[in-house]
Symmetry: D2
Subunit: 384 residues, 4 copies
C-alpha cells in the first residue's frame, strides 16, 4: 500500500482517465483511483457532443481550449481503438443549431460571424435548406447555424477507452478505492489516504468532478464546484432519424450508432440527486416531439442522469496549485468534459513532465483566478 507512483490520479471519470492515459503513454507510472466504478458518474451520462462551436457563442479561452481539444480526436480515436479495442464512435457529421424565433436567428448570425472571424467554418441555412438536410425536422424551424466541424463520440466508451488503454500501458487502475484525504508534507502533497491505506506519489492530480471540491477544501484549497443535474433519454429506430447533431429549443438530439438517438438534457442546479424525474422526462419528450415529430414513433430505450461539475464563472479549473506543491487540479468541466478531456490529459501530462503550459489563454483556468460571487450556469440564452 506504500508503493510510490510518478502520479496518483483521483477520479476515474473521463478527465481522470484521459490524464492516466496521457501520462502512461509518456512512460509515467500512474495509479488511477476511483471510488466506485470507472466512468460511473457524469462521464457515462453525457451525450458526447463535441460542440466546440455549438456550445460556445463568444470568443475567449474556453473557445480556444475547445477547438484545440476537438482537433485531437481523430488521431486519438485510432490510438484508443488499437490499445483498448474500444471504438469511441467518433462521428463528424456536423451540428445544426436551429432557430425558431427571430431573436434566436439573430443570435446565431452573431455567433457565425465571430466563428468565421476565428477561422472556423460556420454557415447559416434557411429553414428549407435545413429540412433538405434533415427532412424530419419541424416546419417551424426558421433556419440554423451549421457547424460542420462539430461532431460527437460515445461518452461511456471514450471514458472507458482512456482507462483501459492506460491499463494496457501499465497504469494501475483501482476501483472501489475511495480517497479520504491528501497527504501533506512541508507544503507539498505526497500521497492520498484511501479507506484501504495510504498511497504515495510524486504528484497528485484531482480529477473527481464535484467530489474534488471537498477533498481540496480539506487541504485548505478553494476550488468551488457545484453540481448541475442533467437528465437524458434515448430512443431507437432502424434507420437514423437525423444525420447531424441537432441543437434546438429545450433539447438537443445526438444520433448514435445503430439508429440510437440521445435526447438531452435538463439542468437542475445544485442537486446531488441523481434520480431521473417523470417531469424531467415529460418536458424533454415534449420538446423533442416538437423539434422532430417522427420521434414519437421511435422505440423508447431508457432514461438516465448525471451531475455536471460547474464553477462560478463557467470555466474549469485546470492547473497546478500555486501554494501547495505537487498537486494539479482538473475539474469543473461542466457540459464540456467529453470535448475537453483530450487536451486536459495533455496539459496534465505536460505538467507532470515539467513542461511549461503554452498559451496565454490557459491563465483563465488557473485555480487562483478571482471568481464571481454569483454563480452562473454557462448556458446559452435560448437552447434550454
Amino acid at each position: 500500500m506504500t508503493r510510490k507512483y510518478d502520479a496518483i490520479i483521483v477520479g476515474g471519470g473521463v478527465i481522470g482517465s484521459s490524464i492516466a492515459y496521457h501520462m502512461a503513454a509518456r512512460g509515467l507510472k500512474v495509479a488511477l483511483l476511483e471510488r466506485e466504478r470507472l466512468g460511473g458518474q457524469a462521464s457515462s451520462a453525457a451525450a458526447g457532443m463535441l460542440g466546440a462551436q455549438a456550445e460556445i457563442s463568444e470568443p475567449g479561452p474556453l473557445f480556444e481550449l475547445s477547438r484545440r481539444s476537438r482537433s485531437l480526436f481523430p488521431e486519438l480515436a485510432i490510438r484508443l481503438r488499437e490499445l483498448s479495442g474500444i471504438d469511441i464512435g467518433l462521428e463528424r457529421k456536423g451540428l445544426l443549431r436551429v432557430a425558431t424565433t427571430e431573436q434566436e436567428m439573430n443570435s446565431l448570425l452573431h455567433t457565425i460571424e465571430f466563428q468565421r472571424g476565428a477561422g472556423e467554418q460556420a454557415d447559416w441555412l434557411s429553414g428549407n435548406e435545413v429540412r433538405r438536410l434533415e427532412p424530419g425536422l419541424s416546419p417551424d424551424i426558421l433556419g440554423a447555424m451549421l457547424a460542420e466541424g462539430d461532431g460527437h463520440v460515445l461518452a461511456p466508451e471514450l471514458s472507458l477507452a482512456f482507462a483501459k488503454a492506460a491499463a494496457v500501458l501499465g497504469a494501475d487502475i483501482r476501483e472501489y478505492s475511495e480517497v479520504q484525504s491528501l497527504v501533506l508534507e512541508q507544503g507539498a502533497v505526497s500521497g492520498v489516504r484511501t479507506r484501504d491505506g495510504t498511497l504515495y506519489g510524486e504528484r497528485v492530480v484531482m480529477a473527481a468532478g464535484t467530489w474534488s471540491g471537498p477533498l481540496l477544501a480539506q487541504a485548505g484549497l478553494a476550488c468551488p464546484i457545484y453540481p448541475v443535474q442533467g437528465e437524458c433519454f434515448s430512443v431507437l429506430s432502424h434507420a437514423p432519424l437525423v444525420k447531424a447533431t441537432i441543437f434546438g429549443h429545450g433539447c438537443y438530439l445526438v444520433p448514435k450508432k445503430g439508429g440510437r438517438l440521445i435526447v438531452g438534457a435538463t439542468m437542475n442546479e445544485h442537486s446531488y440527486d441523481r434520480k431521473v424525474t417523470a417531469g424531467g422526462i415529460g418536458g424533454l419528450l415534449a420538446a423533442a416531439i416538437r423539434l422532430l415529430p417522427g420521434i414519437a414513433a421511435a422505440e423508447w430505450e431508457s432514461a438516465w442522469s448525471g451531475l455536471r461539475p460547474q464553477t462560478a464563472d463557467g470555466l474549469p479549473f485546470i492547473g497546478g496549485h500555486q501554494d501547495l506543491l505537487h498537486v494539479y487540479v482538473a475539474a469543473g468541466h461542466y457540459r464540456n468534459g467529453i470535448l475537453l478531456s483530450p487536451i486536459t490529459g495533455q496539459l496534465a501530462a505536460d505538467w507532470a513532465e515539467g513542461k511549461a503550459a503554452e498559451g496565454d489563454y490557459l491563465e483563465a483556468f488557473r485555480l487562483d483566478r478571482p471568481l464571481p460571487k454569483t454563480e452562473r450556469v454557462n448556458q446559452d440564452e435560448f437552447a434550454h
Copy 2:
C-alpha cells in the same frame, strides 16, 4: 416425450398458470407448456387492477364473471403465499373513477346505479371529497365513483405464484417448449406436438392468449383473437402518491408496494409489436401529470408494454369445444386477464373433472357464440 398427462396446458401466462394450479390442486397430473418464459408476455405487463366495478359499466355476463372472480382473491393470496412463498400483493383500498366533465359524471352516476342494483357498493364523491381522500389529485376533478371492493394485485407475482404453486403440487412446468400443432385422433384432441417431441394427454387446454387463435385454426377451430398493445410506465416515491387506484382521463394510476406507482395504458389495436414508443410514453406522462401534478417530481423507473388478447365482442372464450372433444379454450381475456384468472382456473378444473359449469351467464363465453363482424375494443367511453 410420450408421457401421458391428465391435462396439457398450452401457455404459461396468468390464465394457463391458474389452470395448472387449480388442476394440480385437485390432484390432476398436468403439464404446463410455455414457448418462452413463464409470464413473459401480457401477464407480467399488466398493472394488476381488480376492476370488477371500475372496468365494467353495464350489467351482463362479464360483470358476473368478474365479481365472482374478484371474490376469490383473499383466500387465494394466502394459499399461494403458503405454497410458493410469493406474496401476490393483494390490496383492497378501493378504486376511484374520476370525472372531469359533466358527461363523464353522468355516465358514472349511471354506472353507480346499475352496480347498486346488482348489490355492489358504489358511491359518488364530490370533487372535494375526492381530494380529501387523495390530496394530490388535480383540482379539475368534478367528482368520482368510489368502488371500495376493487383493488389490485402484483400481476407478474400472481402469474408466477400460480405456476410455482402448481410445480410444488406436482405440475410439470416446461419453458421454451413451443407447441406447433394439436394431435387430433377421431374427432378428439389427444396431445400436442412441440419442437422437442409429442406429448399426450387426456385433455388439452389452450391458454396462449393471442397465440391461441392460429393454433386452434390449424385444427379447424375458429376462436379469433387479436392483439391490443398497451404501454405502461412506473415511477417511485418514498411515501405513496395515492392510496386508492385512480382511473382517469387518458390514464390510470395503480399504487404498488414500496411507493411504486404504475401508470397505464395506451391501446394500439392489431399491433403485435411490443416496442414502447416515445410518443406513447409522452402521452401517458402528460395525462398523468394533469391527473396528479405531484407525479412530475417522482422518480422515473421504467416503461414496458404487453399485448392484450381481444375478441370481436369483447368477451373471452372460456369453454370446451362442441365438435372437437377433449379440448378447452381459455383465451381472449383482454384487459381482464389478471382479474379473471382465478375463476377461469376453477372453470377449467371443473371441466377436467367432468363437472357441469354452473350459471347461465357462462353461455356468453362459449366458443361457438355468434361474433359481430366489426371488431370492437371493450373500451370505456371516456377513460382513454
Copy 3:
C-alpha cells in the same frame, strides 16, 4: 437545509432504516440520510438468514441479542406489510447445519447442548434423517443440527420495507445525501454536514456500516470497523430444491420464494472491492454441487457481493457515546445485520426516548469496550 429533527440517522441500510422506522413509529421526527440508494450495499447483498442458533455456537451476549431480535420478526412482518405493502418473506422452516466429518459432528453436538441449556430447541439428526427431510442433499452428510426456530427473510425487501414504512410514518428519506462530517458543539453532536448543506437535529445516529468508522474518527471517536467482502449467487427451479436453510461445508443454501435458491458466501477480509470474482463463484459452485448435487441442473440467475462490516472482537457497536453527547452508534453487525436489525432499531429508539437499556448483556456492545489487537473473523470453524 437547517430544519431541526429529533434524530438524524446516517446510513440507509437495514440498520439505519430499522432505526428510522422504530423512531418514526414512536412519533419522532427523523431524517434518514443515504449517500447512494437505500439498501444499496451490504443489506441487499445478504441472504437474509435468521440464524440465531446456526450462526452462533457459544453462549454470550451476541446469542442473547440474536434470539431476542429473532423473536421480533413475526409481528414486524405483519406491520411492515401493512404500512409499506412489502412482504419481507419471513419463512420459519428451520435450519440444518450439516456435518460431514466426526469433528464437525462433535462440534455441533456441543452447540446443541449449549442451546438446549439456554432453552432453545436444537436436535441432532442422523444422515438418513437429514435426507428424509431433504432428499436432495449429498449422501456424504453424517448428520445435522436442526434448529427449527431459525429461518430467513428477503434481505433487500426488509431493508426497503423499514425505510418505506418510516416514510409513511413521516420520516424524511434523503438519498444521494452524503454526510461529510458531524457538527460538534460543546461536547455534543448537533447535526451533520452533507454535500448539500447542514442538517441539525437533537441526536445523530451513525448506522453507515464500514463508512461509520471514518466519520466517527473525524470526531475523535474510535469505532474501528473493517470490511469482509462476501460473494453470493442464486439459481432458480420451479419446485424448491430444499425446504430448510442448509448450512454446509464451504457454502450455505437459503431457499427463497418461487424456487429461488441463494448460495453464499465467500469471505475476503479487508477488501473494499465489491467485484465478484470468477474464482469466488467457481469455489461456491463446487461446494454447492457437493452439498446438493441436483443444483447443477438448476438455472443460473446471477452473482453479487457485499461488504460486511466487521469489528475486532466480532461484536457490533451499539450504544450512545460516553464522552460525546447526543450521538449513537449502530454499526459493525457483520453477518448478522439482517437478524439484528429489529432489536437494534428498538434499542436506538429507546435511547432517543431516554429509556435506559435493559439487560446487562448489552454492555458487551458498548463503544468504549476494550478491543483485541488482533482482528478476528467471527467465523465458525468448519462452515467456510
Copy 4:
C-alpha cells in the same frame, strides 16, 4: 400488408441480416422479418470466433467456404462502420489451439500439415513458446497450433450492423413479425403469412436457424435442423488476460474490447431450453481456471446461452430449392454462423440476381444432398 418485395427474408439473426444487407447493397427491395428482436437468439450469444482454421481440422467444402468468408471481413468491417456507425470489433491477433496430451499434439500436427498444404499459415509452438506469447497460460500446455489468420468479431454487433446497414440502404426491417407459413402458388413460393397479414415477394429466403425446419416442413421441404445449446460466460479485467484467442480443453477464451474475456461453450444437443445451468457454468469455470489460472481473480460479468442450429452431416443448408421455385435456404450454420455470414449473404444475393454460384464445393451445401441417418455434432475430438 400486400406490398411486393424483391425478396422477403425470414429470420433477423446474423445470417438473415447479412442477406438483407447484401441484397439491399445491390439495390434490391427487401423485407427482413424477425419474430422477436434482431439478433436475439444464437447470433448474439456467440463468442464471434473467426476460426476458419481452428474449428476445422480436415479439408473439404466447409474449410473452403470458411476461409473465403473470413477473407471478406476486413472490407466489411469498414463498410458496416460507415453505414451503421457500428464497429464490429474485428481483431486478427491469431488463435492458439493448445494441446495438453500427446494425442492432441499429434492431431494438431496433422491439422497444421493439411492447412499448409491448402496454402494457409499454421505453425506449431512448443509449450515455452506458447507461454512466451501468453504468459498467463497454464504450465501444463505441451504446445499449440498458431493460426495467425484467425481472429474474432463482436457477434451481437456484427448481427445488428448488418441489419442496421440494410435499413440505411432501404431495407424494411420488421421485428415482432412471426411468419406462420409460406404462400405457395403453382410450385413456387410467392410470399409469407405472418400474424399481421400476408407479404408478397419475388423470392423468399429462409434464414431462421432452428426455426427454419418446421416452416419448410409445412411446405413439404425437408431441411432437418436441430439445436445444440451452448452456454458461455464473461469476465472483466483492466488489462487483457490474453491477447490471442485460446482454444483449449473443455473451453475456449476469446478476448474482447476493454479487457472483457468470453469463455465458451458447453454443448447440449437437442435442447431448445435456453436456460443457463449452474452445472454448465461450474464446468466451464473449472476448465477456464485450469487453462488460465489468473482468470480466478478476474471480475465475473454474466452468463448466457444460445441454440446453435446443427444438421445431420454438420454442414449448413445453403441454396435454392430444386423443386419449389423462388425459395432459398440459408440455415444450419451451427458454430460457424458468424464466420460464414458474409459469404452466405453474398451467395444469397447472387442467387437473387440470377447469378450462377461459382465453385463445385458449394454442391456440398445443397438442400437435396443425402444426409446420414445418425446425427453428429461437428465437434473436434478434444476441444470439448
